[in-house]
């Protein structure tokens, strides 16, 4: 694959090739799309465990006396909810309310935060941050090269990792993390986070130990049927759980309110884009994200048009055949007056209209423990 020479490679690139992964470009990186097959990988995460290379994600460290105030100003969610060891999901917006990116913020310590951002938006995010530091005693660094990262996801993720550490993983609650945890003979940062809708962890390690850790995890998870999973399954899993993907449910022309992410927006504080959101709330949203299920045959896909009674009312952001549900489902933006469960729609699938109905999301929710 000559293209790989121009693309960035994660520390696990050689390993993916040895495993026979189908590689493709994503956000400037050569990434594994699938190993044994998307459906098999998807199912292994829902029933047992899967391991993903997510080393391509970007990490931006924000430190300094004014880092709290700076991040309050730059991001939509309330940084005041954080304590060391806690994580929140948040967004940065343009002044018109459209999204720059969505990401996680980890509080490493007093005046010390780590943003974990989409690989495809790292350069844009970092530039955006640097452009706005004037007047704040804050230092932002792109430290993405310092980390390799794997995600271990599924009901057996914790059982798998427990074999590799004496640390009590059960003590890490959802959206919490710990630093300097000893695992498989190395020190890692481990968070109970993920992008699959299952229980699981994301583990950050030194890039030169990434392969070693991957192999240890695969060995430990063998009895649970752990499988290497690529970006194909990563997408079908997050989509069933209604988690947005930038470039699909979010972009510079879409606000978090339209995307149904008001839980990550704190309108009580001032941040870039707040005025646009307040105006939007007052005047009404221009579009709303809904989930739908096909009732006719056919698979909805990104950018397919949505119709009702002969008029175009929106567009599909993500659509696929859902491995877990065995149905063809999609997410779409529609005019708000149609955004209600039970409303019948039509999707233009390659020249033919297929009937669909709006359903509640997430499409899939894991069983409570």
């Amino acid at each position: 694959m000559n293209k790989s020479e121009e693309l960035k490679k994660t520390p696990l690139f050689e390993l993916h090739n040895r495993l026979g992964a189908k590689m493709a470009e994503f956000g400037g990186w050569a990434m594994p799309m699938q190993y044994s097959g998307i459906i098999e990988e998807h199912n292994s995460v829902r029933s047992g465990a899967g391991i993903f290379d997510v080393s391509h994600m970007g990490e931006i460290r924000v430190r300094g006396k004014d880092s709290f105030g700076f991040l309050q100003h730059m991001t939509t969610n309330d940084i005041g909810k954080l304590q060391p060891g806690k994580i929140i999901y948040s967004l940065m917006l343009y002044a018109n309310g459209g999204a720059v990116d969505d990401f996680l913020v980890y509080m490493l310590g007093e005046n010390d935060y780590l943003m974990v951002v989409n690989a495809s938006n790292l350069d844009k995010d970092f530039s955006w941050i640097i452009e706005h530091t004037a007047g704040y005693d804050v230092k932002a660094e792109d430290i993405s090269d310092e980390y390799g990262e794997v995600a271990v996801q599924g009901p057996k993720a914790e059982d798998t990792l427990r074999k590799l550490t004496d640390y009590d993983l059960s003590g890490i609650a959802y959206y919490e993390f710990r630093q300097d945890v000893e695992m498989a003979g190395m020190h890692v940062l481990i968070s109970r986070t993920g992008y699959t809708g299952e229980d699981g962890f994301e583990v950050y390690m030194s890039p030169d130990r990434a392969e070693e850790l991957w192999n240890a995890i695969v060995k430990a998870g063998g009895e649970y049927g752990i499988k290497p999973c690529g970006l194909g399954a990563r997408d079908t899993l997050r989509f069933e759980a209604r988690m947005p993907l930038y470039g699909h449910e979010l972009d510079k022309d879409t606000t978090p309110l339209e995307a149904g992410l008001s839980f990550a927006v704190s309108l009580d504080k001032d941040f870039i884009g707040r005025d646009a959101l307040l105006k939007e709330k007052q005047e009404g949203l221009k579009k709303k994200l809904i989930g739908f299920e096909m009732t006719d045959k056919g698979i909805p896909r990104q950018d397919y048009e949505v119709y009702k009674d002969g008029s175009k009312i929106g567009y599909v952001t993500t659509g696929t055949h859902s491995p877990t549900l065995g149905k063809n489902i999609g997410l779409a933006y529609v005019a708000p007056e149609f955004a209600k469960t039970g409303v019948e729609l039509e999707i233009m699938i390659r020249g033919r209209l297929g009937r669909a109905v709006i359903v509640r999301t997430p499409f899939y929710k894991r069983a409570a423990k």
Binding site: G37, I38, I39, I299, T320
Partner: protein, 128 residues
């Protein structure tokens, strides 16, 4: 990868099996591997007529849609109804149970424009 002898192959990765005046058509092992898990196949209807090269259906994987181009001209006489409930037959048995359609050929001589198994093997080797 070797390809079954006795079949003809198109540049669009379809195979043709001559059955008298009829041609049974499907996609090759190479195509199903490149596609990944097939989750849906759109097949033509009996009675549909096509000229060689026409788009006569599609095969969808989780991530993508691939159009199918008919290797020979003719009228559809049979379609594989099993693909509706079991599209994965295309992955599991691309030359057997994963067949897509049978056409009554306008011109049985048209297969001379298609590749043999060894030509197709060379063709696929070049595309990699």
């Amino acid at each position: 990868m070797t390809y079954p002898e006795g079949l003809f192959y198109s540049k669009d990765h379809e195979w043709v099996k001559l059955e008298g005046n009829r041609a049974r058509i499907g996609i090759t092992e190479y195509a199903q591997g490149a596609l990944g898990d097939v989750v849906y196949a759109e097949v033509p209807s009996p009675g549909d007529e096509f000229a060689a090269g026409d788009n006569f259906g599609s095969v969808e994987s989780v991530k993508s849609v691939s159009d199918l181009y008919i290797p020979v001209s003719g009228k559809v006489v049979e379609v594989n109804g099993e693909l509706d409930g079991s599209p994965e037959l295309i992955n599991r048995d691309p030359y057997g149970k994963g067949w897509v359609a049978v056409v009554e050929m306008d011109d049985p001589g048209e297969t001379s424009g298609l590749m043999s198994a060894s030509d197709y093997e060379a063709f696929v080797g070049e595309s990699d």
